[in-house]
Symmetry: C2
Subunit: 334 residues, 2 copies
Amino acid sequence: MRVSTATPLQNLLTDIAGVAVGHATDLALGSGVTAVVFDRPVIASGSVLGGAPGGRDTALLDPSMTVETVDAFVLSGGSAFGLDAAGGVQAGLRGIGRGLSVGTTRVPIVPQAILMDLLNGGNKDWGRHSPYRDMGLQAFEAARSGNFALGSVGAGTGATTGTVKGGLGSASAVTRAGHRVAALVVANALGSALIGDGPHFWAAPFEQDREFGGLGMPTCFDTGMRLKGVNMTATTIGIVVTDAALTKTQAHRLSLLAHDGLARAVLPAHLPFDGDTMFGAATAEKPVRDPTELMEILHMATLVSARAIARGVYEATTLPFESAQAAWRDRFPG
Amino acid sequence: MRVSTATPLQNLLTDIAGVAVGHATDLALGSGVTAVVFDRPVIASGSVLGGAPGGRDTALLDPSMTVETVDAFVLSGGSAFGLDAAGGVQAGLRGIGRGLSVGTTRVPIVPQAILMDLLNGGNKDWGRHSPYRDMGLQAFEAARSGNFALGSVGAGTGATTGTVKGGLGSASAVTRAGHRVAALVVANALGSALIGDGPHFWAAPFEQDREFGGLGMPTCFDTGMRLKGVNMTATTIGIVVTDAALTKTQAHRLSLLAHDGLARAVLPAHLPFDGDTMFGAATAEKPVRDPTELMEILHMATLVSARAIARGVYEATTLPFESAQAAWRDRFPG
């Protein structure tokens, strides 16, 4: 599944060599799982800045903790029920002999973040066994390098925001020194990626090649708060990966700069009912020669995260429920 | 020094009743201190998201720690030498009988954050005793409600950014429910508050009443990184205060939403050489009746912080050194 660095950029997380992405999508459930699988363990960290997070194996991502690498990341819907999904990905990794070597066994390290999509109108009557473990394995088996779908797929299936349907987006960039930086983010924010009640995206200053419609900025700004409504169920979750050789501490900073991208793309972000979580990882293909190169990698983490959020909302489609929140494309047709 | 809530808004931190601000400014030193003094202990917290912070008595601000209130906050230049300043403010508070009651004594709680301005061209040859403790006491004695100066004053005296002189700014807002939210921030970022090489501010969408020139947004966006140069000495520090009755945990969230304002106003922010620190406090004059009211207070924390940063840069003046970084007003005259 390895991607050569000579591969043309597709503006996706898989522009980073060695990264595979797979989705499991259930439109009737109105939810899904996305697995990001690395072809070998990568330096990784993460940070939780929302007030209502749900995660699995995230404590080890703190730079002070011992384990420095992960095998995969999982993003899913299902709120805390969705935390079963990483178990499915671990089963898949175990099946191919992957995992942190511990004595005579291997333990796949698969941190996960979830988003809250339980109240989006989908059929959540799954009885005693949530569907998320099986969807985790399904997403793992679907994971590949190259192109993958955006919008109402995988963990973005059930996502909503303060104004229009949320979704899963991705974006990539290359620094002047040639480091690649790419993000995959699912926007399920309590706030909004759009400015006021119009179609313009907060992330517009960072847009590349009309990747989310090319509307630019409006001429005046309605900065009044737009929230999702009385349930206030939210969370934006994502992953930023670079091919640069970062330390775990630098990967932690990468995740913090991704939160700045969230702050740029969604207003307001990081609320008490958002579980906003960002992971950062480095495949270490390319050395970092000086501090300025590192700063630009971090700068790009902010930009690609903001762009990925706008793209996820732009690519989303309305779910097939009567009460489903309208997608951007249906809210602003033509 | 109490301010009635009927006082007309001046777009300053002192729009919150019970808040006094005082500066100590030394242009030859190219540095200074700002004290924010509350007329009674206020619920407070804070968060450090930059990678190179300097602070004093900040650990107790974590919501898990016992002490819930503070008497004052201090912002200063001087890098870690500047941490003497809180001692001066404590001396002033002790002189008027203020402080946390502990048995038969009182301990003034004065968390502080510093910024790095040691390499800005000012005379830093202070020998064995830094001037910061005395400047702390001077700032305390100067503290008053009502109007205070912005720009190259107090902790903003020596501030610089990636493109033009930094400075101390302030802004305030009122939510629909009538809660006041105000910020005082010193922009000394490694990155830039301006878009590309032009005069436009990243915070422009949030600008009120031409408070930083009324330029609006440019028609195209140069999102390339602008950094301060080889020394990479930085840090943006600030305080957001509301008159709402927040818990310590909610004051912590207030400080995180202030960081989102920083992320909106400065690009890039939160770098490994930034010590970005935001404090949050609540004077508890006015109850919060439902979650939506709280969300709007937090939303406003993002907006007033972004506006305060732009205002600090806009109001800055060039220091009287040959090598001093030009202020916005000198870089973009007329």
